[in-house]
Amino acid sequence: MATVTRPLPGQVVRERRSAGLWSDAWGRLRKNRLALLGLFMVLTLLFLGIFGPFLAPYPYAQQDLKAIQQAAADGYGIGPLNPGQYGHVLGTDQLGRDLLSRLLDGARISVSVALVVQLVILLIGVPIGAIAGWFSGRLDNVLMRFTDIIYAFPDLLFIIILSVVFRETAFGRTFDGLLMIFVAIGLTSWVTVARLVRGQLLSLKETEFVEAARAIGVQDRKIITKHLLPNGVGPIIVAVTLGIPGAILAEATLSYIGIGVQPPRASWGSLIAEGYKWIRAEPHLVLFPAICIATALASFTFLGDGLRDALDPKLKGKQ
């Protein structure tokens, strides 16, 4: 018969780091160039969103009427300034407001939309999905039919109704109307995350390590937060990252049709809406905000795709 193992005599130096889920995932993400590019652009966007207004050459609402008059006197006609004219790198709109400054302020709006909306989604979607998945049975049925209803409800209609109802209230005016946009987009798009979390829990709660955790007397709440969610967090992160472009786009769409952020603030969507009137003569007024939106969407999508590959354990060892 075998015996109990004894420690080795003498010291063995361990040169192995404790590789966890996250360092593994980071190692895989690092090899993905597109994802790194996405990460870099996302970080840049975050930086501009936070510090942009301090870097901007002018306050976003300031009209440079002198430059407009000067341009008229110099024979350019009355209208938006072209890029590079009279100290405005990206030109101005027809009221003489510096486009670069307005874009930087728009970045702040887009970044906050990206973060706050996803936070709202997580705060609603994760608990609902977790409760539905863990308790299953009747509660699951009720919650999932509720999410089906939300899913079936037309998003845009809901947001328009909400903004019409609350436009003149304190809630509607908070943060230049942004808070309402956050809540409205969040309320309509938590469904995907809820379903994802529910599916994750349904499969994970059948695993043996959950049974083992129950066998040592861990409470349900702790099993969900300590054992289940960390195992399901990969797909959630991916869903959130890939959901950000949708939220940015939704905000831009709302601002474009005029129910988003209130003037004089401008988001990239409302900049396009304003610039659209001048698209023949001054295409840069549409072009630059459009480039901003496209870049932001692409960077989050690249990062999200990279994260999905990095966090999916089934892909381990491939690529």
Binding site: T3, T5, T207, E208, A212, A213, I216, N231
Partner: protein, 369 residues
């Protein structure tokens, strides 16, 4: 309602089904508390335990009227082939039967003086892990891949013993060295995938032992391991259970393991105990044809090379509405009409404490001792 039995073709007798609502009442009637513990002679007394699974196809009587006792510090084996109710019995003792669809519908489980079927869920949770440890079959899937080994062992300790995290860590290191993991301190921050199968089972044992339990339920603890590791793990379990004076309920389908580890052995078949006795009695004078079949199917050193291994023909019956007949009868070489008419009771054989459920080996049966 009568349902023709597939194997005998005759109508099964009417079965009184316990409705889920009744079963719930059974578990929730007058709560007992953990604080008042009458003194108990035996650590674990299971009486008339029936655990049924309410499936769409019918009620599966996975464990049916099972009774056994386990003394302090003893090791009891539950043997039998797959699907005969061994694991469900153990899960019932810890009240971990997945519900729905499973439910304990009848019986009494007295653990250290407490009727645990009448414990509230919170009190039950205080027992699990603290006084009843569990070792699972597959160490590869029983550890959470996203948490460190150190955390997972400390989890039970923090839960039940109220130690500070420093004291808990010391205890974890002590436990890990106890179960034979070298350089335990360096490995606290490691994840399960950095451990081999045998080492992970050692970790599981450390978790089961972490709060000095009075009882360990070991559900086929070595099935997923290779033979050499198996021997090490079993030796470790018996060594540590001796050291801590822990009783072990060992579930296995390997009679060799049961012979080596256990004081007493229960042979289970189709949700029932068909024979129970000390290891010596059971291996020297088995008194149930199923036990003969199990012993006979072991490969032996004096087997002729190239001969086929002996098997018990057929499969265990479905446990939905079993007839009132010996459940082993369709596979039994010694069966007579009597076996098809009424199910035998678990009665005493030549030695006191050696019981079997067979018409043929009863004193007036056709297979004398």
């Amino acid at each position: 309602m009568t349902i023709p039995n597939e194997q005998t073709g005759r109508d099964a007798p009417t079965i009184v089904e316990v409705s889920p609502a009744d079963a719930r009442r059974l578990v929730t009637q007058e709560k007992v508390s953990l604080d008042k513990r009458p003194k108990a002679e035996k650590l674990l007394t299971v009486k008339g335990l029936s655990t049924h699974f309410f499936t769409p196809d019918g009620v599966v009587q996975a464990v049916d009227d099972v009774s056994f006792e386990l003394g302090y510090g003893e090791t009891l084996g539950l043997v039998g082939e797959s699907g005969c109710g061994k694991s469900v019995s153990a899960l019932s003792v810890a009240r971990l039967v997945p519900n729905p669809p499973g439910r304990i519908v009848a019986g009494e489980i007295v653990f250290d003086g407490i009727d645990i079927l009448r414990l509230g869920e919170d009190d039950m949770r205080k027992l699990r892990g603290k006084e009843i440890g569990f070792i699972f079959q597959d160490p590869l899937t029983s550890l959470n891949p996203t948490l460190t080994i150190g955390y997972q062992i400390a989890e039970a300790i923090k839960q039940h013993m109220g130690l500070s995290s420093k004291a808990a860590t010391d205890r974890v290191v002590e436990l890990l060295s106890k179960v034979g993991i070298p350089r335990a301190k360096d490995r606290l921050k490691d994840y399960p995938h950095q451990f081999s199968g045998g080492m992970r089972q050692r970790v599981m044992i450390a978790i089961a032992l972490s709060c000095d339990p009075k009882l360990i339920l070991a559900d086929e603890p070595t099935t997923a391991l290779d033979v050499t590791i198996q021997a090490q793990i079993l030796e470790l379990i018996s060594l540590l259970s001796d050291e801590f004076h822990t009783a072990v309920l060992l579930i296995t389908h390997d009679l060799g393991i049961a012979a080596g580890m256990c004081d007493r052995v229960n042979v289970m078949y189709a949700g029932r105990i068909v024979e129970t006795g000390t290891v010596d009695e059971l291996f020297e004078v088995p008194r149930h044809p199923y036990a003969w079949g199990l012993l006979d199917s072991l490969p032996r050193l004096d087997d002729v090379r190239g001969d086929r291994l002996r098997t018990i023909e057929g499969l265990p019956p479905l446990l939905i509405s079993p007839p009132d007949a010996c459940r082993f009868e369709p596979r039994c070489r010694f069966a007579r009409d009597k076996c098809r008419e009424k199910e035998p009771a678990l009665t005493e054989r030549e030695q006191p404490g050696h019981l079997a459920r067979c018409w043929a080996t009863e004193p007036d049966g056709w297979i004398p001792a």
